[in-house]
């Protein structure tokens, strides 16, 4: 049966995140969160009295990825250090209309690195922020506590959406990985985007990526579509019948089915999942993105 291989230091697995860094990712997550301007502003004949405030999609996704990396480091941490059960890559794609930008998106000490062992990620954050978190005071109340929030990945939003180029880059990176790790648990690729590809139909490039495999199974590709529209998210569908448009149906078709252990995890989270359930969320809000990333990266068989 596929997707049974133990993940170990001698036979690690990997995650590869493809992050849309197009201009539209600079829009705020919640456009109804309005803040009054000091004085009205007129743009193109229209007068505005409020502006949408809050995190942009790019900032929210960067936070989600940084939090996921933090959790993955902690999962792999043991008394003697961080065990290299996983390698992780983060590729950003965007750029202006004449030249797409597809490049590794780690910052500072890991800048330019395509695939990094988790122990190096643990020891090389770009910086460590302090953020406050509400925690239980043990007496039924909550108190603010400062917690460390390591940052490896900074938000960026400009240009178009060269998704085909991103998938092709992923195929190159994983092709090389698989030559070195032909028997391990298959790599998992998670593509996070808010719109359509601007460099052609990505279906073929996605299929090529999904053809790569180890002895334990094919590369898994999941797609997360995030949206600021006030539409109901569609999570983990097993058919495209309920999907609203061709773009959603395309992303659905490009997504792999959940392997059995992930079906079980999704079911435990209250999400119905069967053999035809795909790793795909459409119109996701950030809480769905975070839950999706958790299910998609939770280890099944860590040694």
């Amino acid at each position: 049966m596929p997707y049974q291989a133990e993940v170990s230091r001698s036979n690690p697995s990997c995650f590869l995140f493809l992050i849309d860094q197009s201009g539209s990712m600079g829009e705020v997550v919640d456009p109804t969160n309005l803040q009054a301007l000091d004085k009205p502003v007129t743009v193109d004949g229209q007068t505005f009295t409020h502006t949408a405030s809050g995190q942009t999609k790019a900032q929210a996704v960067a936070d989600a990825i940084n939090r996921l990396l933090q959790n993955l480091v902690i999962k792999c941490a043991k008394s003697e250090g961080v065990r290299d059960y996983y390698h992780v890559g983060v590729i950003g794609y965007g750029g202006d209309n004449t030249a797409g930008r597809v490049q590794p998106a780690f910052s500072a000490g890991l800048a330019g690195r395509e695939m990094v062992p988790i122990s190096e990620i643990a020891n090389t954050p770009a910086r460590i922020d302090e953020r406050s978190k509400k925690v239980s005071d043990g007496a039924g109340g909550l108190v603010e506590q400062n917690v460390k929030f390591p940052i490896w990945f900074e938000p960026l939003a400009s240009g178009g959406t060269p998704m085909c180029a991103a998938f092709n880059r992923a195929t190159t990176i994983l092709g090389s990985w698989l030559q070195q790790h032909p028997t391990g648990f298959p790599p998992i690729v998670i593509n996070i985007t808010d719109g359509e590809s601007t460099d052609g139909d990505p279906a073929s490039a996605a299929e090529t990526l999904k053809q790569l495999q180890t002895d334990d199974g094919a590369v898994i590709l999941f797609n997360v579509h995030i949206s600021t529209k006030q539409l109901k998210p569609i999570e983990f569908p097993d058919t495209d019948v309920t999907l609203p448009d061709e773009h959603a149906k395309l992303l659905f078709k490009m997504s792999s089915c959940l392997p059995p252990y992930m079906q079980q995890m999704a079911s435990q989270e209250g999400i119905p999942a069967g053999a035809n359930t795909r790793g795909f969320v459409f119109n996701a809000k950030m809480e769905q993105v975070i839950q999706f990333l958790d299910i998609g990266t939770r280890p099944s068989n860590l040694r």
Binding site: Q70, V73, A77, S79, G138, P150, L302
Partner: protein, 284 residues
């Protein structure tokens, strides 16, 4: 009444010996010999009673091996007058164990990820058995480490799990952190009677599951035919396999062979995990 206690320990394949996270302990042992990963003791069932314990630290948490070691020592070092481990005593003992764990893991500065992981705590199973001079034994357990009592060729007790199918990947475990030290934990208890010649086996989950599965796969044969079959080639009778263990090298060979042997569905006979067996034979 004298017991010969043997403890066998091996880390997961691929891990270093210092990454082993099970623990075992015996109260008041008179050590006979130590060889590699194995220890052999003589101990007496007397006053105070004899106690044995094993624990299995969780892979997913940090400093689990330290937590497992603290738990087994605490169980075995209880006073004679403590009798059975009652809930109020358990809570007090656990509170003390948690203080010891915090002190040990906080002794040196830690990187940011180790500090944050400590907030989750360490987790471990625990199984402890007490042998009284009046011929009774009492066992407490949390998690999937198991006790087996063997008399002759019969397994007359299996606790807390009795079939291989009952093992899961998410057993309930004891945490080194607690928001409330008064919160009861779900220890299960079992009592029985021992007599001279009985053998008791304490096993952590990978080998306990192997033992129950192998026992279930044994063909049902008459006692005489079984004895003839075993004497011819030893067979792959699980009881024979663990009875004949003597030292580190044959234990390593036993575990290696069972980790590589496959069931019909391709899964290994014994899961790759830390392996601990404590064998206690009661002699006159």
């Amino acid at each position: 009444m004298m017991c010969v206690v043997s403890a066998f320990a091996l880390p997961k394949k691929g891990n270093r010996p210092d990454e082993y996270e099970d623990a075992s302990h015996c109260s008041r042992p008179k050590q006979v010999r130590v060889g590699g990963s194995c220890g052999f003791w003589e101990a007496t069932i007397n006053d105070p009673p004899l106690r044995l314990a094993i624990a299995d630290g969780a892979t997913e948490t940090s400093f689990s091996g330290i937590w497992a070691a603290i738990l087994v020592r605490r169980f075995c070092r209880r006073k004679a007058s403590d009798g059975q481990w009652l809930q109020k005593d358990i809570n007090q003992d656990l509170k003390k164990c948690r203080e010891i764990w915090k002190r040990k893991v906080g002794a040196r500065p830690l990187p940011w990820y180790a500090e944050q992981k400590l907030e989750y705590g360490a987790y471990s199973s625990l199984l402890g058995v007490t042998f009284e001079l009046d011929g009774s034994w009492h066992c407490v357990a949390l998690g999937d480490s198991c006790l087996f009592q063997v008399r002759g060729e019969d397994k007359i007790a299996a606790f807390p799990l009795t079939t291989a199918a009952e093992f899961s990947s998410r057993p309930t475990l004891i945490c080194s952190n607690s928001t409330s030290d008064d919160q009861p934990i779900d220890l299960v208890v079992r009592s029985g009677e021992w007599c001279v010649g009985d053998e008791f086996y304490l096993m952590t989950d990978a080998v306990a599951c192997w033992f129950l599965r192998s026992w279930e796969m044994r063909p049902v044969v008459s006692w005489r035919r079984a004895k003839r079959r075993l004497s011819r080639n030893g067979g792959d009778d699980p009881l024979w396999s663990i009875r004949k263990l003597y030292g580190a090298s044959d234990f390593e060979e036993f575990v290696r062979s069972q980790r590589t042997a496959l069931l019909g569905d391709g899964a290994p006979m014994m899961k790759n995990d830390d392996v601990t067996i404590v064998r206690c034979k009661i002699r006159p």
